[in-house]
Chain length 114, copies 2
Amino acid sequence: MKLNMTPAAELDHVLVAIADPTRRAILDRLTRGPARVTDVAEPFEMSLAAVSKHILTLERAGLVRRTRQGREHILRADPRPLRQVAKWAARYERFWNQRLDRLEAFFAQKGQGQ
Amino acid sequence: MKLNMTPAAELDHVLVAIADPTRRAILDRLTRGPARVTDVAEPFEMSLAAVSKHILTLERAGLVRRTRQGREHILRADPRPLRQVAKWAARYERFWNQRLDRLEAFFAQKGQGQ
């Protein structure tokens, strides 16, 4: 599935996956090392089914990989798709640098700044 | 509203806002210069109401600012919240560098690589 996605569709999946704080916490947990589904679910106050659904969303985005060792399902983080996110956000960096002073002056003048 | 948000909640709003391709296209349009709501809506094959809803999501994330000039509503991109996204993704950069070779070897061995 992942191979047939256009980069934009893949970016959508990755952004949707990381937009949820529980999924970011799961990803964080897995960057510290591989873990079983039950280990990943343990710190969350939600059902195993709910955590499994979050893991599936991460798998669809290519951020988590699952392997089977006998009867155990082992999960591993694969942060490679996050490069696309970093790349996408970096496109605006030039814009930040060029326009930030102008923007701040504009909103200060309008009295609508933060 | 935005001022009272914790950084994590703000990151949620920003990630949800940019997870949609229409909203990324609107943001792209506005980085080229300020525009009226109707101008922003013009290239999209959807109702003005649907586009307005997308714009509201971008405003809630702090990515778009609206000012009134007489009867006109002028929209401007404010990419500052994207720094948080870039910062969040960059946290995984160390992980990429350290683990990428090991990950690739692992998935190649399992025959489950891309």
